[in-house]
Chain length 301, copies 2
């Protein structure tokens, strides 16, 4: 089984209480892929500019990603610059340069169009809808977005949700799009927009999963030293979707385990800058931490 992920591949500059890094390889699709690759073959659909370092391309390829639909276009790579302080829960965006993203029309090969699993990571909803329309009979479609699109392309986003199996949002986004402050009510409202399942990420407080058939709630993996949370949500989504695709069956137990693998993948992501930690992971690292994570709360010892 394999998955197509659409999103950004970016150059991130970040400042946290633990230091400052410039032009790190980042972006929603890159973080997603670094976790999902541990379970399944990842087909990356993204765009970068001519300024994108060749070593980053080589690095992504060395991680086993299929880069057939990674476009290198005239212009500059998408850049994001942000800062975290205090409890590192919220990023302050200092600067965003869209570059080539502003003209991105994603396309996929004939072979990739037949892949049944898709994740539309955070990018303009019009671009997400464009890619989705190209796919032939997708079976499992996940979607992430962000506050900017919720406010500026609300209609387009809500229209898109009708075609989505799993909508992945953080708590602020879920509240903003639904207009509900209670997260279960928010999840119900988002279900009402059409998404079959709703997954609300609460950062250091874990995750809430809602569908008509079940509600799950998992705490976060307890991380003592958060170095850089950039991409934690995308990494979560990558671990979650990757595991689901690997199992090939959506049921209660697989969904819970997928939430667990997402949680564990995200906990590695925040332990170092950028992709430093997740890019070195092997499947057994996730398995080992998963055992520790389950010990944190599972009743049946």
């Amino acid at each position: 089984m394999s998955i197509v992920v659409l999103g950004t591949v970016a150059l991130d500059s970040v400042k946290t209480p633990f230091g400052r890094r410039k032009d790190l390889l980042g972006g929603s699709a890159a973080h997603f892929s670094m976790a999902a690759r541990l379970f399944t073959t990842v087909n990356l659909v993204a765009i970068v500019g001519k300024d994108f370092p060749a070593k980053h391309i080589a690095f992504l390829r060395s991680k086993g990603l299929n880069l057939a639909s990674l476009v290198i276009d005239k212009g500059k790579t998408f850049r994001w610059e942000g800062e975290y302080s205090g409890d590192l829960n919220t990023a302050l965006t200092l600067n965003t340069e869209l570059g080539v993203l502003s003209v991105f029309k994603p396309s996929v090969s004939e072979e990739q169009r037949r892949i049944k699993n898709i994740f539309l990571a955070n990018v303009d909803p019009d671009i997400q809808a464009h890619l989705l329309s190209k796919m032939r009979g997708p079976e499992l479609v996940g979607l992430d977005s962000m506050n900017y699109w919720i406010h500026h392309k609300r209609k387009e986003l809500i229209r898109l949700l009708k075609h989505i199996d799993i909508y992945v949002a953080n708590d602020q986004e879920a509240r903003a799009l639904s207009g509900q402050s209670n997260l279960i009510k928010a999840a119900k409202a988002l279900r009402g927009y059409g998404a079959r399942m709703v997954l609300i990420k609460k950062g250091e407080h874990g995750v809430l999963f809602y569908s008509d058939r079940f509600i799950f709630s998992l705490p976060a993996y307890p991380v003592e030293e958060v170095i850089d949370p950039t991409g934690a949500g995308d990494t979560f989504a990558g671990g979650f979707m990757g595991y689901l695709v690997k199992t090939g069956r959506i049921n209660s137990l697989n969904l819970k385990k997928a939430l667990g693998f997402g949680t564990v993948a995200a906990s590695f992501n925040v332990e170092d800058f950028g992709l430093n930690r997740t890019s070195k992971l092997k499947p057994r690292d996730l398995q080992r931490r998963m055992v520790k994570f389950r010990e944190c709360f599972n009743f049946n010892l």
Copy 2:
């Protein structure tokens, strides 16, 4: 097995988005007791004034509480007035009248002094220390406090922690007393002050348990309609301590289950004003919701 709980019995006036109630029976010891009574015999140590309605005394007695050490003194009952808005996570205290609490010197009967389980619910640390000094060979001592005492009687509180088995704090309190914003670091620092185990309540985000031997993390029970959160933390502590006392053994599984019962008890508490919901509970209500709660996250189905 039985437990002694020291704390406040109060008249609460509260306003939430769901209405307004005046002079509700409340207070840390009352909320604690209403959950703990479902598992064990509760000996209430508290003070009220001559204005305390006789019906409230009769009500507490009808719930099976031992009121031998509930003092009715000249003066007024402790009153608290508060308001919740928005997501109901934080109370705005509008007014506090200490009344008889300001002269409270708790005493217990010779029989009660020999009880091995004690919970020092939120009240002046000097009063907590005074009661603890009266007990003969306590074996399991829990303690709760609040930001007011953390700021005004920090030294006394830290001195007291050396004699505490389980320190129960909410996240703000844990951060304020430890000076650490990461909750695991905060728990470690509080462990360093002497408390053998540290239980950090995160409201709608669940609970973190820390000891030298294990870290547990549980999500909250998903409650859709929070009517009045007053006393949720005390109710949590009551369910937690009550279950531990009932089992008579502190081990990993019993601690996790106790955290579960505390969580479930607190989820009932917030579903109505004051003690309305918890006072009507039977042990089987907790058991039933516990099954649903475990379904929310347990992996071993």
